[in-house]
Amino acid sequence: MSTQEEQPEAEGELEVVDDGVDYDALADLLGDKVLDRETHTNADGFVIRADEVQDVLSTLKEEAGFDHLSCVSAQEYENRFESIYHLTKYDDRTQELSIVVPTSRENPVSESASPVYSTANWHEREAYDLVGVQYQNHPNLRRILLPDTWQGHPLGLDYDQNKPQVVTFEANKNPLEESHLGDGEDSDTMFLNIGPHHPATHGVLHLETVLDGEQVADVNPDIGYLHRCEEQMAQNGTYRYQIMPYPDRWDYASAGLLNEWAYARVAEDMADIDVPEYAQVIRTMGAELCRIASHMLALGTFCLDVYGDFTAIFMYAMQDRETVQNILEDLTGQRMMFNYFRLGGVVWDLPEPREEFFGTIRDFLDDLPPKLDDYHDLITENEIFQSRCIDTGYLDPEVAKDYGVTGPVARGSGVDYDIRRDDPYGYYDKLDWDVVTEDGGDNYARLLVRMREVEQSARIIEQCVDLLEDWPEDEREIQSNVPRTLKPDEDTESYRAVEGAKGELGIYMRSDGTEKPARFKIRSPCFSNLSVLHEMSEGEMIADLVATLGSLDVILGEVDR
């Protein structure tokens, strides 16, 4: 059966098979472990028993090739808890499958998937933290976003948010006391808190580090300092207008339009909204501008980590990002928090006079290649830089897949995975561009991937500008006709992802028939990418730990949401 499953993929008949997955064959593979079948908008869901999670997932991973656990969404219903494992494949993103694991409300215990997929470790901790599902055999089932002393699970149904969190001083006196693993009279290692306030953590990240001399013996990211209840806020907003401003605030380092697209894609998918082609081109152009701005920031801050001061490269990168932000300001009216996408299109057309706007973009695109050459002269061809970055922070492709790593980080390890191409949306499949990969797997390769992706984004933008310039005036439809109040059918569920600046940015939504989502779960690429940090930096020097963290390019607003 597994061979049948992989046949179409091997022969590249993707366009023939609708959705790409033969769910009946998969159901046969799992046999009577499948209790029930559901249909989600993106994929079919198999309902399984809570004590057979590992069994089912390892069968699917080994025999059906589902090597990418994209996300774990947990939620509470009136009568049960439910964990959904969103599976897909690195080789073929269109093949998706949801594994639904219901548990009773009285005893919400479910088997952990972390022995099968390492990425489940953090995702299940989050599900435990926010929703309250207990995962059996989980190696480290602690809270991840909220403090250890938090009482209750905020996304659970009977959580009372007006109840004050009374924590005695004694209980929270030194939350790190137990984790001072390295310290002690007769210990050879030293425990070091890097962050939450540290020049190199790119926000409020806390790394609990055990050092052996200058070498990193163990590193454990402690996140949640920037948790702003984004999921819950989205659940309190109406689909049509009130949710769209929030995505801008996840990856706030100028990747706003990419994030908005994640919500637009899932909501349009659920409510079956078409987007006019003209708006798709504008979206594609705007999103790629955001990608350039975001990669420029990543480039600058990574060099900041390696070089040590606010040096020339950081400022140059900020200047180039500034140019992009000016263009985006012309387009959207905002520099960072755009709120430009609408369900079914974009909020307004390109600014007038159009020629001037296109001229600005073309000037920027013309200036870009020599600037990138400058960066190569300054950075990638510098011998000291190479000795710092080549072969440090190595991430093995298999480890990357195991931890659900996506985006430039995965592509730097040679994982050829880009949702823009593998599960096309917008106008990407009609444009001519390449997915960039590097095989190095080290800090240097990740930097090169970002720099080359900027070139590709510029190619996409150029084609979009060409298209927009010649677009007939009477066909410039920026929004399709969308009802003022959206109420998707009850129990519609969908998980959709887009290629954000840092990787696969996915959203799981469930409708309960009202105008607000019943569950809104964000799959943040930074969250998964950060979880692999210890695999990359253990055994390296502390300087390389910092550089590796920089090359992961995590935005804590997106990690903590």
């Binding site: 200058e214 060099c303 980590d305 040590g308 020339a312 000795s387 710092r388 502390i542 910092v546």
Partner: protein, 353 residues
């Protein structure tokens, strides 16, 4: 010849005997130290910002006073009026002494630097026969300040920074001194003024009627490059700024210092850069030698050139990792500096025969 500064002051105040000598020496030292402090004040809050801004396409300070120069006053007031935070558990006398040791050790070095003469006054405070050894001896007291500050701060980042600083200074002090020794082989003396005289009075070549003096940077460029590189490591600037390494260990040994103590550390570092520049100028660039302008002006041009060089490195060169730094020091610089010493010895020997 011009009068040395202490003698000039003694004559000026007209008190004879040991008291006059003492006063002259004291006031002379006071003047030189203050001059260096002013230079540092210009370099730290103002010139550094302007230079970095020029490298990074920015404008930097331009609001307070002409060219933003009054930022120096503003910054001094700001830094001195900050609270001196003494963290719990610091090792008190050592923690307080570290910044003083840092700043003082660098200032002491200027006692023997021939800074050239202006208006007939020779601005060299003292000219002992062991001048060169003295400079290296007092300059390396700074390492003690670093390790005291790092260890006494009771902070893990400071400890790491202090350890790094010591490892680095050990690794680079030796090539520095050995390279300087190759200059001594040429001059046959450790006296700073004599080293300058040898460079000024020897002619390397005459090109088109212009006499090129035998500055050791021209005579032995290899030693010059080695010395400049070792000096950058010695003063802890990019690419060798691992002891501070802001993105790795916050600020290294000076993490816990604030207010006046921080100012002293900061001063110490900048005076060290200038002292490094002064040693380079004396050993390799003919000290205060130069055409037209007075010697003292040339001396300042040279130490500022070295300062500019360190700022250029800071803006453009990545930092090496601590293990790479130690490797470069022990496996590269040390070997090269000894090779240079042997080569110089052979050449000098052949020339003298």
């Amino acid at each position: 010849m011009s009068t040395p500064l202490p003698d000039f002051i003694t004559n000026l105040i007209g008190i004879g005997g040991p008291l006059g000598d003492y006063l002259g020496a004291f006031l002379g030292a006071f003047l030189v130290a203050n001059f260096m402090l002013i230079t540092t004040a210009l370099a730290g809050p103002w010139a550094k910002r302007k230079i970095t801004a020029a490298f990074t396409d920015r404008i930097a300070v331009n609001r307070v006073g002409p060219f933003g120069l009054l930022i120096i006053v503003a910054d001094a007031v700001r830094l001195l009026s900050k609270e001196l935070v003494v963290p719990e558990g610091v090792d008190r006398p050592a923690w307080d002494l570290a910044p003083i040791v840092m700043a003082a050790s660098a200032l002491l070095g200027f006692a023997v630097i021939p800074m050239g003469s202006i208006f007939g006054i020779n601005l060299q405070l003292a000219d002992p026969e062991t001048g060169l050894v003295y400079v290296f001896a007092v300059a390396s007291i700074a390492s003690l300040g670093l390790v005291m500050g790092g260890y006494a701060s009771n902070n893990k980042f400071s400890l790491l920074g202090g350890l790094r600083a010591v490892a680095q200074n050990l690794a680079y002090e030796i090539p520095l001194v050995v390279t300087a020794a190759s200059v001594v082989l040429f001059t046959g003396t450790l006296q700073m003024s004599a080293i300058v005289d040898v460079q000024v009075n020897t002619t390397l070549a005459v090109i088109g009627g212009v006499r090129i003096p035998a500055w050791f940077a021209f005579v032995n460029p290899f030693a010059f490059v080695l010395f400049v590189a070792a000096n950058v490591a010695e003063v802890g600037r990019n690419p060798f700024d691992t002891p501070e390494a802001p993105t790795e260990i916050v600020a290294g040994y000076q993490t816990e210092y604030s207010s006046v103590y921080f100012v002293l550390f900061y001063l110490g570092e900048f005076i060290h850069i200038f002292l490094g520049g002064a040693i380079i100028a004396t050993l390799f660039l003919g000290g205060p030698d130069g055409p037209v302008l007075p010697g003292f002006v040339w001396f300042n041009i040279k130490i500022w050139a070295v300062f500019l060089f360190t700022q250029w490195l800071r803006s453009a060169v990545p930092r090496v990792r601590i293990d790479q730094l130690i490797e470069i020091g022990w496996k590269g610089m040390l070997v090269l500096s000894f090779a240079n010493l042997v080569l110089t010895a052979v050449i000098v020997g052949v020339m003298n025969v």
